[in-house]
Symmetry: C2
Subunit: 142 residues, 2 copies
């Protein structure tokens, strides 16, 4: 395996130490989601090049914000949510995804708790430039 | 909405024409998967910055290959699959994902048909430099 080295192996686990010094293993969404309960507090589960895959639990309304430098992917794993845009609202159910184009004002909303996979470049702040108490710390892994 | 313009709207559908000249709408994986049946023939369903989200149906063995310039994400939507690496094999079930690090030789395999979401930069060839009859055409949208 180019640039990679097995550093630990037993019957249950096998980690690979790659060029990025990251441990590569299979990521199970349900297992990861069971490890946190906070709403609007994304947890990183994987990195791919300069991008991060994050799990989040949404409930109630988030804040209006945008990301000037990047698109943002929302993929619903469980439940349903809405994304308010300036002109209309899109509704996302389990097994659906939506790409919010960069620079697009949006406000996520979930009437009942909704579990979401987010994909965006490393370093993106969840509230964009809007700030506020729902601004989450970045690079919190689960 | 910065850089975007509503071009069509009725009670069921609302498309947004954005800076990339793409139509943004909710993407339903089951609906998209129903539109093709070929194995090892990824279909693009969305773009996010320079990255593509692709749906694919896997069955039997693919070819050994690597991608020298990028990591690659496999996310299982239905069924199960394996990814053979040079040192070991990882098994992925529905609701699980794996990041194959760049430059890592791998061979996907699915005993029964498996539905997968792939995430990788635009332009990545499915067989890497290995070529062969399983090399799929790029940028085929569904």
């Amino acid at each position: 395996m180019v640039g990679s080295k097995i550093i630990f192996k037993n019957t249950n686990l096998c980690y690979i130490f790659n060029e990025k010094h990251m441990l590569q293993k299979v990521i199970n969404f349900k297992d990861k989601l069971a490890k946190f309960s906070e709403h609007w507090s994304p947890r990183v589960i994987a990195e791919m090049n300069d991008y991060q895959f994050k799990l989040a639990k949404f409930k109630d309304k988030f804040v209006w914000h945008d990301h000037q430098d990047t698109d943002e992917v929302f993929l619903v794993l469980k439940g349903s949510m809405s994304i308010e845009l300036s002109d209309h609202t899109v509704k996302l159910n389990e097994g659906e995804m939506f790409v919010v184009p960069k620079g697009t004002k949006h406000r996520p909303y979930a009437k009942e708790e909704c579990h979401v996979l987010l994909v965006e470049p490393r370093g993106v702040v969840n509230t964009g430039d809007s700030g506020g108490e729902l601004t989450a710390q970045n690079d919190v892994w689960v």
